[in-house]
Symmetry: C2
């Protein structure tokens, strides 16, 4: 496999190996040795003959055999020669620990690029520069300068920050959490998060992938890869740099271009990536997903030896959008028979403060056997009679069921033996009920993702050629703003219903068109120089007869040429009055990272004041279009729940999909709005009443 030299090298050269404690080259070597790496280790340092009892070479060329991977920790200026030497020695992978490249200055960026090019030409994969290194517990390989190597396990980590890796490793070792691979990707001169995601997706010894990311190199490829991987195993990512201050901190850190947070959210949803909201959630979620089966529903039983934490947990379950299971009659009867009278056999099942392991056994077993229960949370607080270790043993014995069990042992040293037992039996334990509840929720959502129906995109028959011609015209005119009249032609070509209308250049013509369309009509000034027509009196509505049309034409043109004498006036658009209905806004703006981002919101104040909008990445399916509608708080207003007249919601979903098809077909569309899209009541046509399209300047300039 592609990254075998990186994760399973048969020999490793440490270029810059050192006998001086505290040096990175010293740590690298001793970590390889201490970790028990059983391949060949080749220290390289012109100043030493031997380090830590291993022969040291003055250069790699001195060592005549092939090395599989080289790890480089020499000063910046010596890095390129070290890479060249590694390539000559047959290395399949090179890891550059040394910092001081792209993240520092332009000179560093240039050098980094040169080195990457060198590797690329020879087909050698490059990790770094500016990384902690790479680790594979199953290969007993700690090729990082962090001395902590966790036990073998299923969680693999991709991190853009070496220091975050170091903190994770230290924490994992202390908590005896098993891990599989860890890779610090640093400046990503070659190997990036997508490569690693893809590889770990195929890796049989990785069950869960955890990522800490400040940026993503290629949004679309990321989505494709992640969707493939998450269909097999969970991927949990903490994306940082989500606020203005965070973005600033991130850019001074690695100079990476941060996409918008909303776009990341949409991309993660699209690709089934579980998003962690905090550092702690990364491993809260990872251990649950690594250790336990997925729940098949969202009904949770709580087994506790304390009322209070049971209540906290019930609150947390509801707040997380899960539900506290209603135990069936049979289970309740079973509990009543086997538990003391004072025990609460509702849910939470309170096995009382003096509960012995047996009582936990009875309660958990009954809960697991109940059809009403999809998952069990067991809470333990240290009371006089509490046997944390023995209880942990009993719980873990029950955890071979097909339903997940999560534990919350609350306290400190009294419950430590229990905690240790749980972790050794792969039963995830949490310090608070709130964290268990959120972890269970992540599991449940992932189970929904795994069960999702196939995405089926509707391909509407459209007149693509017509749109191509219009855009070509704009390109020839070197204009990026597509006016209302042309925008509507485009929409019509994509199957939208638009009000009947024509552009006119005289009052007579206006009347002629109006007579043809039928009264009442609306009239709008058309000029590439005017964006907000109504602000300058460029819109007249509800004109009832020829006299009104003639007056409106003359007045509008007169006033606007007086107000803006230099304006390029194209004429006046005469249009049938759109029927009444609910106004919504459909929008798209192209995210630099992830491409066309669709937006939906109810018109006016809902968007402007309440910011009640939803997003998804095009192309969208019918289900996704419906989800966009349902994701707004104002959806019930649209759907007629609150005594409102119900409108044709499906027409909005279709419009979103048609627009999605349009912006996917034409990447030169940078932004577009249909505002308002008037949603008709049942039986009344919905229409795109106004539209605006902005083309990419770059496309206009270069094609």
């Amino acid at each position: 496999m592609m990254f075998d030299s990186l994760f399973h090298p048969s020999s490793i050269a440490v270029i810059g190996a050192s006998s001086v404690e505290g040096k990175v080259g010293n740590a690298l070597l001793s970590n390889l040795i201490d970790g028990g790496y059983d391949g060949k280790i080749v220290p390289v340092n012109p100043k030493s003959k031997e380090i830590m009892g291993i022969r040291c070479y003055g250069s790699l060329s001195e060592y005549n055999e092939k090395v599989d991977m080289s790890v480089i920790a020499v000063p910046v200026k010596f890095v390129k020669p070290a890479v060249a030497e590694s390539i000559s020695s047959g290395a399949g992978a090179v890891t550059i620990i040394t910092a001081g490249f792209k993240e520092v200055d332009k000179e560093g960026a240039r050098l980094e690029k040169e080195i990457a090019e060198l590797c690329r030409l020879k087909g050698v994969r490059l990790l770094g520069p500016n990384v902690l290194g790479v680790m594979n517990t199953h290969h007993k390989m700690n090729a990082t300068f962090a001395h902590n190597m966790p036990e073998k396990g299923g969680i693999s980590i991709i991190s853009q920050s070496g220091a975050v890796c170091a903190a994770i490793l230290d924490w994992a070792v202390s908590n005896r959490l098993g891990m599989s691979k860890l890779v610090s990707i640093g400046n990503k001169a070659d190997i990036n998060e997508i490569d690693m995601l893809e590889w770990m997706g195929e890796d049989e010894r990785t069950s869960v992938i955890v990522g800490y990311l400040e940026s993503i190199v290629d949004g679309k490829k990321f989505i494709q890869t992640a969707e493939k991987v998450t269909s097999k195993k969970p991927v949990i990512i903490l994306k940082v740099g989500t606020t203005a201050a965070g973005v600033k901190a991130a850019s001074s850190h690695t100079g990476s271009l941060a996409g918008t947070d909303v776009a990341y959210g949409a991309a993660f949803r699209r690709s089934g990536v579980i998003r962690a909201d905090s550092f702690e959630q990364l491993f809260d979620f990872a251990k649950a997903l690594d250790m336990q089966p997925l729940p098949r529903g969202k009904s949770v039983a709580i087994v506790t030896n304390a009322g209070g934490p049971g209540i906290i947990c019930a609150d947390a379950i509801e707040n997380a959008g899960m539900s506290v299971a209603q135990l069936d009659h049979q289970s309740a009867t079973a509990l009543k028979k086997k538990l003391p009278e004072a025990a609460s056999i509702g849910n939470p099942i309170d096995v009382l403060g003096d509960a012995d392991p047996d009582r936990y056994h009875v309660a958990i077993k009954t809960a697991l056997e109940s059809d009403a229960v999809d998952a069990v949370i067991t809470i333990l607080t240290p009371q006089t009679m509490t046997k944390a270790f023995e209880t942990a043993k009993v719980i873990s014995e029950l955890s071979h069921a097909d339903k997940p069990i999560l534990a919350c042992f609350m306290g400190g040293r009294d419950i430590l033996p229990g905690r240790a037992e749980l972790v050794s039996k792969r039963l995830p334990d949490y310090t608070s009920p709130e964290r268990v509840a959120l972890s269970l929720k992540a599991m449940y959502e992932y189970s929904l993702w795994r069960e999702r129906p196939a995405r089926v995109l509707t391909h509407y028959p459209v007149n693509k050629r017509r749109v191509e011609r219009i855009f070509k015209m704009y390109k020839n005119m070197r204009r990026s703003q597509v006016g209302e009249a042309e925008a509507k032609k485009i929409l019509k070509a994509y199957g939208f219903d638009i009000p009947n209308g024509e552009l006119c250049v005289s009052a007579d013509q206006a009347v002629e068109i109006a007579e043809y369309i039928g009264y009442p009509v609306a009239m709008k000034i058309v000029s590439r120089d005017i964006i907000h027509k109504s602000d300058i009196g460029g819109v007249k509505i509800n004109l009832q007869n020829s006299e009104a049309v003639r007056d409106a034409y003359d007045l509008m043109v007169m006033r606007i040429t007086r107000l803006l004498p230099d304006i390029r006036l194209e004429g006046v658009y005469v249009e049938e009055m759109a029927s009444k209905g609910r106004e919504v806004i459909l929008g798209m703006s192209r995210d630099p990272q992830f491409g066309p981002m669709m937006m939906f919101g109810l018109g006016g104040i809902f968007v402007e004041v309440m910011k009640d909008v939803s997003f998804n990445l095009a192309p969208i399916t019918k289900d996704e279009a419906m989800q966009m509608l349902e994701a707004t708080r104002s959806y019930e207003y649209l759907s007629g729940i609150r005594g409102q007249t119900a409108v044709d919601i499906e027409s909005v979903a279709i419009a979103l999909q048609r627009m999605s098809q349009l912006v996917t077909d034409f990447p030169q569309i940078k932004e577009m709005d249909i505002n308002p899209f008037i949603v008709g009541t049942m039986g009344v046509q919905s229409v795109a009443a106004d539209a605006r399209i902005t083309l990419s300047e770059k496309w206009i300039e270069n094609g």
Copy 2:
């Protein structure tokens, strides 16, 4: 002081002391001894002569001297005699550990009440039943059956759950967090959370109060007490049972009546209580407030040896509503001079992965000295050169400034020595940047509370007598629904502007009134049997002349008597048309726990669909009324920010205050709405266009 016998008893009787390990009476005795309690310990148990080397008495009467407190752990049926015996022996406080009272059945509740009454009559304070006990580290007294007694410290705890206490104690001991008092209040037969809050508020050795509550015994008294206490020291409360499932769990737990969550939120805000959203937040916040001075502003400097966690922290600071400080030029220059070139001297200040304690010193000191900085967060990840302990030492040496420093040492065993040093020097440490940020925010909000201006209630001159007469009339009629016409009279008496109008009982009279008021007018049917007038055609608006008024009267009355032949029709209300303006809703409903809860929201969809409403407890000040307006998302729509016509916002604030005065003056008002209250544009009067008042049935029945 009142609870001296509870917290500083000179002698303690343990009734039910036992030599059998695992028994509660055994744990109680050994905990008292092991804790080092140096008062007199009096074990009582008829079956023993001596336990743990201390003489044991068959009964308290056998022991001839006075006991200050007795702790009772005997079976339920022996509890009452034990209490009586304790009282006879002169106990000032009695703690009943035994469970099986109110929380079990009616018989238990009766017995509990009898015991409480017995104590009350003798002026003896009763803790429990169903508690873990009471602890005072400064008195070396562990009168609980949990063996963990933390070190001396400033945090005192009130908990409604004994198991939560046990978990907290275990955790605190393991983390070496100091505590002052701990009291488990259980069934609250006598001593409750308000007593304890008040006492701890006065206690010189308590610096922070932490509460775990499932219910509150008296909402108004709680607010009064908490407001007094929080003016001196912080109070942090986790209120559980906030969701439907949680309430259910709570009621099966202690049978306590849970108020609504919104009301608790308002009560906590009003009284300056810091609300914890999770179990972990209780002590995240408590340790920060106990150990560090309050920040004077919200600008935070971040000092870190790792870029990644710096970004996480910057995100978290912004998300918490705090801000990442813009370092001033002078500080930046100082940092540039003293830190390595590669260090980032922006904020986060990145002292780099190989940072020694000196670099932390320079960066933190510079940040503390900058006027642009109100607080410092120091982050440390374990890297090769990292000296966790020495860095912790340096940080704690700097923490005698008047600005808070909080730490986030990320990792496991490598950073433990640093963590231990921090906690011993009273520098709060957190496991993740997100938790530091939220804790700092809690500190900042508490500092705002401490600096809050005095609450000044406006007392408007009103005609209270008139309202009294109207309510008396309703009472005499045994009617609880006050109709629109009367409700408006009430509002008028309280200084509201209402549209001119009169009730009429004939078409002639309607025309007469309309002529007097002036056209256009509105007409509304008046009947105690109709709540939603417009639903049944009972409202006509914009009537322009006498003919329209006459037609409207006849039509309305004819249709309604045909539709609802049994209706009690009082007449038709003729009213001037309210001027146009923005419609808002002012409401009040009386919370069973905290009294009159005021509600504000923009009319129509904002309230119905968007649930965009805000609450506060009456009586409210002008500032609080303004805060209610500003707390809605739709406020900017009202305030004219988004190109809307600005309306007279102050008139809404005044209306809220007048309504607050009305509902405070008349506790018999159970619910009321002014809907719509029409807010005029500047210079145009705002009016209460419709109103509805519901009186308390109980008041009507009993007065």
